[in-house]
């Protein structure tokens, strides 16, 4: 019945909002708690501007891999064990071509990504079209590419790379507004203010649209609180960057990747196909989705990102060595599961995996500052992974 009056907006209760998003919020809250804990435990060293930048640089490779791994896990709990070896293989080729053959850096980086794509096609073919379980194909890939890495490097470490290559992981965007002398870089501040304005505008627009379409929205108080929290976080982060050396180049790459893949998984048709396939492959097939193609693409994509991670890591350590990338796959997989991905597929988000990777990264970094040995670090990380997933299982059972 049309009454002619606009209907009042429907608000979800706060309890409901929290309950339905408990996983996402819980991990974010956990991340903040962990950061606060280490901030106190390290006498404020954790969030010193230089260390904030360091956190990004240190964990860039996990963040890159976690994005790709999320897609793999989404298709049905498949993982890619070969990413560490693929990263090492590409890094070794980088070293060979750039250090020994003196090839052009830009060209070689593109070549490295291309090699990643070729490796992805190779593994994707066996996984998607021959239907050998991904676990086995990538286990084989893990051995295969580790072996090839050793063959290329002959067991030696290649170093040093030219500065232009190192810049990928240790360079900064030059200060575009050099007003305050050399110590304070204004670029991040300008970027974050602009980003804040755009964010507020977009969020309000989205909310209005939802209300117009009579969809449920969170109450205004919570909406404003949420928005404020995000704004404060962004601007504090920008301040930290500004106080150190500015925006790292790798952060720009990460931003583009995270934004791009978030959009891809939530808004596009192929992104939806990945979720559908993981949810129920048979139903997806009968709905006209070429699930082989989806699986092939996901593994192709993973290897390209593994190549990128290898390049970023080689640039950061300024070397290519035989053991590069050892256990990368485990870090990436752990990040995805801490971030709420389901081991049976169909559930998980790119943002969740990023939060998961940051949780691991802050744990690593904080414990290192505190002087806790690498042995205990591993133990604690293992425990955190188990607890995060246990919490997930518990909250799912409870909501039933």
């Amino acid at each position: 019945m049309e009454t002619g009056y606009p209907k009042p907006a429907k608000f979800e209760s706060i309890g409901y909002t929290l309950k339905s998003n408990i996983r996402q919020y819980a991990m974010l809250v956990a991340l903040i708690v962990i950061m606060l804990f280490f901030q106190i435990a390290t006498d404020g060293i954790l969030l010193v501007p230089m260390n904030v930048t360091n956190l990004i640089l240190q964990n860039s490779y996990v963040l890159i891999l976690a994005i790709g791994m999320t897609l793999c896990i989404l298709t049905g709990g498949n993982i890619d064990l070969s990413v560490g070896s693929v990263a090492a293989f590409v890094a070794a080729i980088m070293g060979k071509l750039i250090i020994h053959q003196k090839m052009d850096v830009t060209l070689t980086v593109f070549l490295g990504l291309l090699i990643g794509a070729v490796i992805g096609c190779w593994q994707g073919f066996w996984i998607a079209y021959v239907r050998i379980p991904a676990f086995i194909v990538t286990l084989a890939g893990m051995l295969l590419f580790r072996g090839l890495t050793n063959t290329i490097l002959k067991g030696l470490t290649l170093s040093p790379f030219p500065r232009s290559f190192q810049a990928i992981s240790s360079g900064y965007i030059p200060d575009l507004f050099p007003f305050f002398g050399s110590r304070f870089n204004l670029t991040p501040i300008v970027v974050s203010v602009l980003a804040s304005i755009i964010l507020v505008y977009m969020q309000i627009k989205k909310r209005k649209k939802k209300i117009k379409n009579e969809m449920e929205v969170i109450p205004p108080s919570l909406f404003i609180a949420q928005l404020l929290l995000v704004l404060v976080a962004i601007n504090l982060f920008a301040y930290a960057l500004a106080a150190h050396k500015g925006i790292p180049i790798i952060l720009v790459i990460l931003g583009v990747l995270i934004g791009g893949y978030h959009f891809f998984t939530t808004k596009t048709v192929p992104g939806r196909y990945i979720y559908a396939m993981g949810g129920n492959e048979k139903a997806a097939k009968l709905s006209g989705i070429d699930t082989n193609k989806v699986l092939f693409f996901v593994y192709l994509n993973m290897s390209v990102l593994a190549a990128l991670a290898g390049i970023a890591f080689a640039a950061r350590t300024d070397s290519a060595f035989p053991l590069l990338g050892t256990n990368f796959e485990m870090d990436a997989i752990a990040a995805c599961f801490i971030g709420g991905a389901s081991a049976t597929g169909g559930i998980g988000t790119v943002i969740g995996a990023i939060i998961g990777a940051l949780v691991m990264g802050v744990l690593n970094n904080g414990m290192s500052i505190m002087g806790i040995g690498i042995d205990w670090q591993m133990t604690i990380k293992g425990f955190v992974l188990l607890m995060a997933v246990a919490f997930d299982v518990y909250s799912k059972n409870k909501s039933k």
């Binding site: 192929p270 048979k282 169909g346």
Partner: protein, 511 residues
């Protein structure tokens, strides 16, 4: 006869939803007691309370079994007392043998070491009791659903069951197997075993039950005694839906146009067994606005025919031609089939029709994503609008379009599958058992939707195991047997007898 089981004032809530509200249920020793009601009426929940799936303390009320108050904390507790429940989804392990399955969790063992001779000797004895003539060494995966059902019952008998609960035991069986199962229930009754039978098939219920309890919206409506002779299907339906259902099939004036879809000389081989033909030289035609039924026993090749037509989703070495509006079309995969305006609503909505962990909206849009996207980017507003529209049109009972489909009842899940395919705007719809396992009210709604689609001029192929349904809504019926079309009947000449006659005659011709 004395009372073996009494459930008093059982109330069970799931969150804010009251699934059972003060239910009272009384079963006499040695009878077959049927429990009927629409989907969501609370039948399965009640049985789960009884068998300890919902443990003591998660519900209120009391259970009195053999004169004693019972506290069941798990299924093991109820099993110890001789209560066994056989669920809709069978709980057998496919790669274990019949014998191993029968004694699973109840092994014939001494000091933890299994005595295989005794296991198989006992298994053979129990198999005789349930009338299954199979070697107990055979793996369960190699049995048909009907025989698996019998293994389940054998498993219960191995535990000295006194109260056997069967949840929709015949839903997945063909008529012959279903008949055998019902006979077995009567046999078991003679040996003193009490059974509770949950079923949507009212004719079966009337055939075997001594008493029928009707549940509606989580409450007991009434218990009918069958021996008094006043119980018929209409009487039960009236209790289930709370009103008289004047007609089980909605009326429709067929407006049949020219031939629209045609399958010629269709042959399909089994995808697993080399050289075994599943579909043999099938020719069928469907007119615009016509509902064409395909009838036949389970295993006659109906689903295989439908799926092989739908983008070769089943089988191999497929040969034959498809024509749409007089022109031959090439359909080699599901995407092409959809592009040519074909749609196939699967008989198995849980494993092949829906993505349970996704919401209603995302399920409805799944086959039509290209239609609501631009350069691969999905338009949220269009997607929501479509979902809201179909939720309303098909009366999908749910909290919102964001509810997960796995939380919906069977009938509403089926409506989501239908919505998905209607949204894909097909010209030719193949519906495979679209009303399986759903209640009378939802069935009526689905028939109405199908009639509307026919009214819009779509060509509809309707596959069903239930003869009354085929007779009730189809304009023309093909009868299938052993992968062949063995008869074609117009609505006027079709009856249960004439359909069965086609099948029997074709069998005789072969042997």
């Amino acid at each position: 006869m004395q009372t073996i089981l009494e459930m008093r004032n059982i109330t069970k809530c799931f969150g804010p939803v009251k699934a059972l509200n003060n239910v009272n249920f009384k079963v006499k020793a040695g009878e077959i007691h049927a429990l009927v009601g629409e989907n969501g009426a609370g039948k399965t929940t009640l049985m789960n309370v009884l068998s300890g799936v919902h443990p003591y303390g998660t519900y209120s009320g009391e259970i009195i079994y053999k004169g004693k108050h019972c506290i069941f904390r798990s299924i093991r507790d109820s099993e110890k007392n001789g209560i066994a429940i056989i669920h809709q989804e069978l709980a057998l392990i496919p790669y274990l043998s019949i014998g191993e399955n029968i004694f699973l969790g109840n092994e014939r063992a001494k000091y933890g070491v299994i005595d295989w001779n005794q296991t198989y000797r006992d298994a053979t004895k129990i198999l005789q009791k349930v009338g299954l003539k199979e070697n107990p060494h055979i793996l369960v995966k190699d049995l048909g659903v009907g025989k698996q059902q019998l293994v389940e019952i054998a498993k219960a008998l191995a535990k000295d069951v006194q109260l056997l609960i069967l949840d929709e035991p015949t839903a997945a069986l063909n008529e012959e197997d279903a008949d055998n199962l019902l006979k077995l229930l009567l046999e078991l009754k003679k040996t003193g075993i009490t059974s509770i039978l949950i079923s949507h098939k009212l004719n079966e219920v009337i055939k075997v039950a001594d008493a029928i309890t009707i549940l509606r919206d989580g409450a007991t409506i009434e218990t009918l005694q069958v021996d008094r002779g006043v119980v018929n299907e209409d009487r039960i339906i009236k209790g289930m839906v709370g009103r008289e259902l004047v007609d089980r099939f909605p009326k429709r004036q067929p407006k049949i146009g020219e031939v629209y879809f045609e399958v010629r000389n269709w042959n399909v081989d089994d995808p697993l067994i080399e050289g075994r033909k599943v579909i043999k030289n099938v020719n069928i035609k469907v007119h615009k606005g016509e509902i064409v039924g395909i009838s036949g026993l389970m295993g006659s090749g109906r689903t295989e025919l439908a799926m092989s037509i739908f983008g070769k989703a089943y089988g191999r070495n497929i040969s034959g031609q498809l024509f749409k509006a007089g022109k031959e079309i090439e359909v080699n995969n599901v995407q092409q089939a959809i592009n040519h305006g074909l749609a196939y609503v699967t008989e198995d909505r849980k494993t092949a029709g829906l993505i349970g962990i996704e919401n209603i909206k995302r399920n409805i849009s799944l086959s039509s994503l290209k239609k609501i996207s631009k350069r691969w980017v999905i338009n949220d507003e269009q997607e929501n609008a479509a979902a809201i529209n179909y939720r309303q049109k098909l009366n999908i009972r749910s909290s919102s379009i964001f509810q997960k489909v796995q939380d919906l009842s069977g009938g509403n899940q089926q409506k989501v599958v239908l919505a998905k395919w209607i949204f894909a705007a097909p010209d030719i719809l193949i519906l495979d058992e679209p009303t399986r396992g759903i209640d009378v009210g939802a069935k009526y709604e689905i028939y109405t939707i199908i009639n509307q689609l026919a009214e819009e001029g779509k060509a509809i192929i309707f596959i069903s195991s239930e003869l009354p349904e085929i007779l009730g809504i189809c304009d023309r019926i093909y009868v299938m047997n052993e992968g062949r079309i063995v008869g074609e009947l117009m609505k006027e000449e079709a009856s249960q007898e004439s359909i069965m006659k086609c099948i029997m005659q074709s069998n005789r011709g072969r042997y």
